[in-house]
Symmetry: C2
Subunit: 535 residues, 2 copies
């Protein structure tokens, strides 16, 4: 602007607001700027990722001169050379496949490095000033970056508006050879709709989602806003229409968690989708894990498990383990339990047993076999124990007899037994086929029942609470209220050494089990355990 | 040779022998080769790293034509572009500082990347055939590589001998500006001695070492050879003349362990040096740790310990922690115990208490303070416990109450108390100075005594043995003799998951404590624990 770079870190910002309109699905930004030469600008923008037009996004960007006059060079493009905080060794994620840029459009086709997903992004944009389009003055076209530049002048009080339309196609949904043509056609449709009409469609689309999905909390505005923010993020990230996809915390391209799937899907997200939308979405999320069953069996085999035992990965995008720390990958095995529990939860909520027959039983069998091999008989205790695990509370590692893991493992064995018994009378062909092809033997079920009946659970009889793991009561049990404020939050103030040895937890662990299996515990038991954790 | 590259991987090798003469300190190699054109060669070499002429090495290399005739181009040089299997991400260790190469000599001055040690290597060599020197035909001089080439012809039965002399100087012993001149002077001395006389000196030098250091085992040739191999390697690696140096397993430039120092020095090597050579060598190894005391205090402070508590690093070359796995760096803390024990062991063996006054007490204070903060009082046990440690047996991680660690910690507190009491009467200035400058308070000693008197030790009363850690008896206790041979060695056949959960150990753990503190246990106790471990 007037020969200077407009960098918000270096100019005077007189106003700044970023506002997420969750009801209508639009992100607004308003910025007031005073340049070193005294010129004042007001910039506003609205952007959306369309819920009505799949694979499409749009941006409207207004620049108005409030005081003085501005000669502007505006560059708007696509950058494929982005960093991601979550990558290893600062490695970037994308290789360029093709790019093109001219006065009509810009496009980039990129490919992820290991998983080999092609993503084709194509943009068309238009800058309007005083009712007339301003022509592109320069096209920028270099490796992993394409853009268009506009050069124009605004007098005081004048405004220009950039409308930018983008379509983003992946090779999961388009043959690579057709991506460019498909993007061109779709982009034409979106641009023809125009930004104003896209806003209308977006509001209508979100109104439909909110009608079915809103959760209202009275008397606590912050909690109300928080739950709606969560709901908004869930539907931005995952709409359930594709059973090859799952929920990546912070999205596919977010700065953390790399777009991959965790057990959070089964433990925390599926109940929400079940309650707020059609059952097919929860079913699709379950089918996702069935598709990865063979990989889960391979994963368990790499660790020495056999006979079809399955260990689902802690973190995955294609069924393979993507995490790289031993204390997580082969010790945080409770994830297997949440995956089985979600099947039960789905059947309980929907009454749909066809999923169990078609897919669920096969997954349960793999998981049950894993648990039956993972426990061992303790001669000292004359009970089954589970050594060397990491529970949901990742502020502990490599512990023995994590209560939640022992509990959910026994529950899996019990539930799988019951499912087999349940189908024994109706005996549908599909169930018989699964039991045969997986070489299921009745002796297995007897072993599972022996484990269920003889599982060891650490508890403190005196306090009447379950213990997170063996030896927990040897810790210094200092309530959080007695810690100096200067030492919190612990994960920023304490060394990992102190955190690991402390009694403080990262997330629910014993309580995770009481949450899942609530109907098996009386209210007093739940209350005692809750109160002992939250001090 | 005759236009083909002599690559042992591609020609016919008719004979190959590599023989280490430990008595004389020379490595011999004999190779018989048949080239694709039918020519046959016999190559022999002898190499030594001189114990008589410090910083010097020499090689004699003979090529003889057994059948046919050979036109040879022989290249002999210095390569600074070497890889090391133990580096992270295949990073190489050396940067080039200077190099030079002509007909008289070749030299390379390299610098290690992080620690910044300069190493200057200079070589002169001579090729003799039929009593006459052959001139250098070509000098090779490129980044990190210098060499000389000789071109010559040998008829059947003829032989040529290359004598190569090298000096290797480090900036630890030479000002960087003088390294080149010092190397030149030293190399002249070594080359003037000549290879035959260097062999004589080497044999004499090693004879002197063997006279004092040999350990003889009768009736077991393999064990005799093994112990001598260990002695040979120890003296090749460390001669004790420099208190800035320590013992790097596999040496400074070996393919593993990166030339750095472990607790093995104190636990296993110091007793050998004490028994076989003058006490100054053990004393120098102890002084090495005193020099690193401030770094050890910083290391502990990073973890949240205070008031001069010291945690020595697991792996170091300059006092800083060089290891990078949490379960080792801040959990395998028993190393602190071995460092304290070595001080006791030295005083016990030599009767020299001046080391304790000058250096040892300061180290003991830092270590005792660490232990006093690292244990915690267990309300449940009404005893002190130590949570989240890794014992000497690294086939376990993050365990609670490792018997050896608890035992050596209590021992350190007891010994430090006794040393302070012992000097209380004689009360030398140096001791008073140390207690004052480290703000030692009598209350500390009382706390230590309370810990010593109330430390918890896991044991199995029924079997009358100590337990490696809490919960050990929950494991599947299957004797090694019952494991199929196909599953051994476990570290090649089993997943890390199975190994961690198993009862099998990597190295002595409970027995390490019984070895150190042998006089505190009766023979039956030692026998029961030994027998229960070795099944």
């Amino acid at each position: 602007m007037n020969g200077a770079l407009l960098d918000l870190a270096k100019v005077t910002v007189t106003q700044f607001e970023r506002r997420l309109d969750m009801q209508a699905g639009v992100l607004h930004r308003t910025v007031g700027i005073k340049m070193p030469d005294g010129t004042q600008l007001a910039i506003t923008s609205q952007r959306l990722y369309s819920v009505a037009e799949s694979q499409s996004a749009a941006l409207s960007y207004q620049i108005r001169v409030v005081q003085g006059a501005a000669h502007l060079v505006l560059e708007s493009g696509l950058d494929g050379d982005i960093s991601n905080r979550d990558s290893n060794y600062d490695e970037k994620f994308w290789d360029e496949i093709t790019r093109s840029a001219n006065e009509e459009h810009i496009s980039l086709q990129l490919k992820t490095k290991k998983t080999g997903f092609d993503v084709h992004t194509r943009v068309t944009q238009q800058l309007v000033h005083d009712g007339r389009s301003i022509a592109v003055s320069q096209v920028i076209d270099r490796e992993k970056y394409v853009a268009q530049q506009y050069e124009f002048t605004l007098e005081s009080g004048q405004e220009a508006t950039l409308s930018k339309y983008a379509v983003i196609l992946t090779s999961e949904n388009h043959p690579v050879a057709e991506m460019s043509a498909n993007a061109k056609a779709l982009l034409q449709t979106v641009a023809d709709i125009g930004f104003e009409q896209l806003l209308v469609q977006q509001a209508a689309g979100w109104a439909k989602i909110w009608k079915d999905s809103d959760i209202q909390i009275e008397g606590d505005v912050a909690a109300q806003q928080a739950i709606r923010f969560n709901i908004f993020q869930l539907y931005q990230t995952y709409n359930g229409e594709d059973d090859r996809l799952n929920i990546g915390p912070k999205g596919f391209t977010g700065e953390k968690y790399g777009g991959v799937t965790y057990w959070d899907t089964e433990a925390y997200c599926i109940p929400f989708y079940m309650a707020t939308t059609k059952p097919e979405i929860a079913r699709n999320l379950l089918i996702y894990r069935h598709k990865h069953l063979q990989k889960a069996i391979e994963n368990a085999a790499k660790l020495g498990f056999k006979d079809g035992a399955a260990l689902y990965p802690m973190v995955t995008i294609n069924g393979e383990e993507c995490h790289n720390e031993w204390e997580i990958t082969f010790e945080e095995i409770h994830r297997n339990g949440a995956i089985a529990f979600a099947i039960y939860n789905y059947v309980r909520y929907t009454g749909d047993t066809s999923y169990l027959q078609e897919y669920g039983l096969e997954v349960l069998l793999g998981i049950a076999r894993f648990w039956a091999q993972r426990v061992n008989w303790s001669e000292a205790k004359q009970q089954y124990v589970m050594l060397g695990v990491t529970g949901p509370n990742e502020y502990e590692n490599n512990v023995n007899n994590n209560w939640y893991t022992n509990r959910i493992a026994a529950w899996c064995l019990q539930y799988t037994s019951e499912v087999i018994d349940q189908f024994a009378s109706s005996n549908p062909d599909r169930v018989q086929y699964i039991l045969q092809t997986t070489s299921f033997a009745t002796a297995e079920k007897e072993k599972w029942q022996h484990i269920v009946a003889n599982m060891y659970y650490p508890e403190d009889a005196e306090r009447g609470v379950y213990l997170q793991q063996d030896g927990f009561l040897d810790k210094e049990l200092i309530p959080v209220s007695q810690l100096p404020a200067s030492e919190r939050p612990l994960n920023q103030k304490w060394s990992w050494d102190r955190i690991l040895r402390s009694c403080y937890i990262k997330q629910a662990d014993v309580l995770q089990g009481l949450y899942f299996l609530e109907e098996q515990y009386d209210l007093d038991t739940i209350r005692r355990n809750y109160d002992s954790t939250n001090r």
